[in-house]
């Protein structure tokens, strides 16, 4: 009895101390992954993911509380990059990548209230009070914040128009035979 207790205790002590020493020598400085994740997010702080901003979303991602598919403006590409970084698998077919979208002003209804300009995270809407506003396509991130504040529903989202340069061949239909 004493022997068995003693031997087990001794072994535990010995192995424990070996591991203790090892942990000192093999210590790794945990790389704060949060910063890296934040760098991958668009940074427009649009809040579509449900978090206040991209930094908070990155923190949630790092803790594993949020799915990598959380960022609608980032689309598939961002989800893929995040998944690769976090080493998780992701079913990208679920990501609603209706193609990146951008906002568009219906000029007939715009009253030039300037509300959309104020909420736009990237200053992509130009115009002045009582003037019809316009969206700079290249700068719009498709966060749709402006759509929510527009009092006349003059703002809507539309897919980025396909151009000759952006057109790609569709995937061949896989014949099952």
């Amino acid at each position: 009895m004493l022997m068995s207790v003693g031997s087990l205790a001794a072994m535990g002590l010995a192995l424990g101390s070996v591991l203790g020493v090892a942990s000192r020598y093999l210590a790794v400085e945990e790389n704060p992954i949060e910063a890296e994740l934040q760098a991958m997010l668009p940074g427009s702080q649009c809040g579509q993911c449900g978090y206040v901003g991209c930094a908070q979303a990155a923190a949630a991602l790092a803790k594993g509380e949020a799915p990598v598919t959380l960022c609608p403006p980032g689309g598939k590409a961002t989800a893929e990059a995040l998944a690769a970084k976090l080493g998780v698998k992701v079913d990208l077919s679920k990501v609603s990548d209706s193609g990146p979208q951008i906002a568009e002003v219906t000029e007939e209804i715009c009253i030039g209230c300037c509300r959309c300009m104020k909420v736009c995270p990237t200053d992509a809407i130009i115009g002045a009070a009582k003037q019809i506003h316009n969206v700079i396509r290249e700068a719009c991130t498709g966060c749709s914040s402006c759509v929510d504040v527009c009092p006349t529903e003059a703002l809507g989202m539309m897919p980025i128009p396909v151009t000759l340069q952006h057109w790609t061949w569709p995937k061949p239909a896989s014949a099952h035979n």
């Binding site: 022997m3 031997s7 591991l19 080493g87």
Partner: protein, 193 residues
Amino acid sequence: MKEFALMMIGAALVNNVILARFLGLCSFMGVTTRVDTAAGMGLATTFVITVSSMADWAVQTYLLDAYGLGFLRTVTFILIIASAVQFTEMTIKKVSPTLFQMLGIYLPLITTNCAVLGVALLLVEGRMGFLSATMFAFASSVGYSLVMIIFAGLRERLVLADVPRLFAGPPIAFIVAGMLAMAFMGFSGIATS
């Protein structure tokens, strides 16, 4: 010398840990989706099996047998294995954080990988000398790694196949494992001749 070679071939191929003894199946199914992950797992497990078997042998011979503490065998073995796994985990985290991430939960789970305890118990049962015990453990784990890598290669191709819904996922993986086991049966009889 010839006995050593035969014993090692026997341990690695004929009585393969996975395909003939059906040990370590959880990692066999769990971390064989990519060849490099499977290779990393194989390497880690090889290290754990070899080191812990050596330690187990020593404890068995000089402690348990010497003082008649045979009933403590499982506990002590697990203690040693757990320590070896801890050590491996720290090393991998230091050396290859990517591999650490890919192996995920399966790395600490090497502790409960029955292949590790299984090999240790087998060599105790076999009443082997230190050298042959070490060789046996090493060969067994090489056999384990080999099958892990082969199976991962097959699964990498399997994800490209149009497997019918009925068989998709684990079923076809088990069918492949079965066929692989069948192929390995070709080796049977080698070590005994």
